[in-house]
Symmetry: C2
Subunit: 221 residues, 2 copies
Amino acid sequence: MGLSSNEMDKLDTVISSRRRVKRGASLFTNGEKFTSLYAVRSGFFKTCVTTADGRDQVTGFQMTGEIIGMDGIVNDHHSCDAVALEDAEVCVLPFDMLEQLSREFSTLQHHVHKIMSREIVRDHGVMLLLGSMRAEERLAAFLLNLVQRLHARGFSQSELILRMTREEIGSYLGMKLETVSRTFSKFMDEGIIDVKQRYVHIKDTSGLERIVNPPSAECGR
Amino acid sequence: MGLSSNEMDKLDTVISSRRRVKRGASLFTNGEKFTSLYAVRSGFFKTCVTTADGRDQVTGFQMTGEIIGMDGIVNDHHSCDAVALEDAEVCVLPFDMLEQLSREFSTLQHHVHKIMSREIVRDHGVMLLLGSMRAEERLAAFLLNLVQRLHARGFSQSELILRMTREEIGSYLGMKLETVSRTFSKFMDEGIIDVKQRYVHIKDTSGLERIVNPPSAECGR
DNA sequence: CGTAGTTTTGAGAGGCGTCAAGGAGCGTGG
DNA sequence: CCACGCTCCTTGACGCCTCTCAAAACTACG
């Protein structure tokens, strides 16, 4: 990311600490004091917010290389839970050290800003998904996003293992677990994917893309 | 916000430039080169993202004192449109200057981080709203949020003028304009609010709060 | 090998979208 | 000052998508 070796050395002092999180355990929880950002080294996380009356919403799934915890900066306390969906390890990035180093190295500073901006843009995409797509479109968009991120990490473009349950997928996509299951089955009937529990094989990527972006709407202009 | 007068002087050099935006005009649009953040001085904005097939989603409404444009940092180009809903004026904050000053003043640096974190937390709240609330709950939460922000700016706790159309409210809340209108009418029938076009009078704040947080769900524990 | 958690599938209900028509407010121009 | 047209809002009827409730099958794990 364009840092000199001197800068890299300094950066290493920030990320010296690591932490393991067992499957099902929390990296941090809502209300907890904010101290650090976390970079996922291995494993898979979900983040979720909860209302007073017990409803909760998965706000994201994070995999290797992604950063968790930026929700905590504004109020010095975390406003969501981060839960490991499989045994995981994270780099602990003490935020005060990160700010200090950011003042020394503009490259790092800009990188931090980009990471937060990326999260904002991602959130806006989810809002678009939740606000204006139907169940099939949401699930298709979700699968495409997941496989694309996995592919960027060297995994297959067409096969994946879901780390989350149907209920968690549903919570993220604003639908009930039964609807998630039914929609998976529908995609299978149409020959677009194979699903067997957590295993998914995408047989027709462009089929999924057509579902997300119905071509019909574009003909009109 | 805890800056010394020396710091304030420096900061003034950043916010020297202002810009007027007429009602209906764009502050920036999707794809436009990113250069600056904008602080709303007066007026009212919406931000919205658009899909390839023409659907769009309002991602937020911004009023005096709020910051727009953080979506542009990550890719050096804006990923949404910012449109003035009434004649408005903004302070232009050139982002490279902001980063430079942030390296000098840790107070400012932390402030910038907080602003971005606040946006992330807000977005998560909207995801919760879109993903797990029903139409009535969404609209009630929307009204409470709006009146609370207006009250913080010295306006009434119970009366407000909507700066946006039913369609824009609907786009933000993930529902159709007819549903927005119907839900307003329902709240009126129940005596919770008075609505006349863009004018809204909240007669029973706790009534709205009960709709957002149904007490029934909390009895169980 | 039993038990708990997860997933699938069905049937029925209801909330919200769609389509359509009418009405209110407001700026423009005669 | 009033008429006109435009945009926005309201309301009704109908249908569909998704939720709810329920039961059974499958998997994982102790």
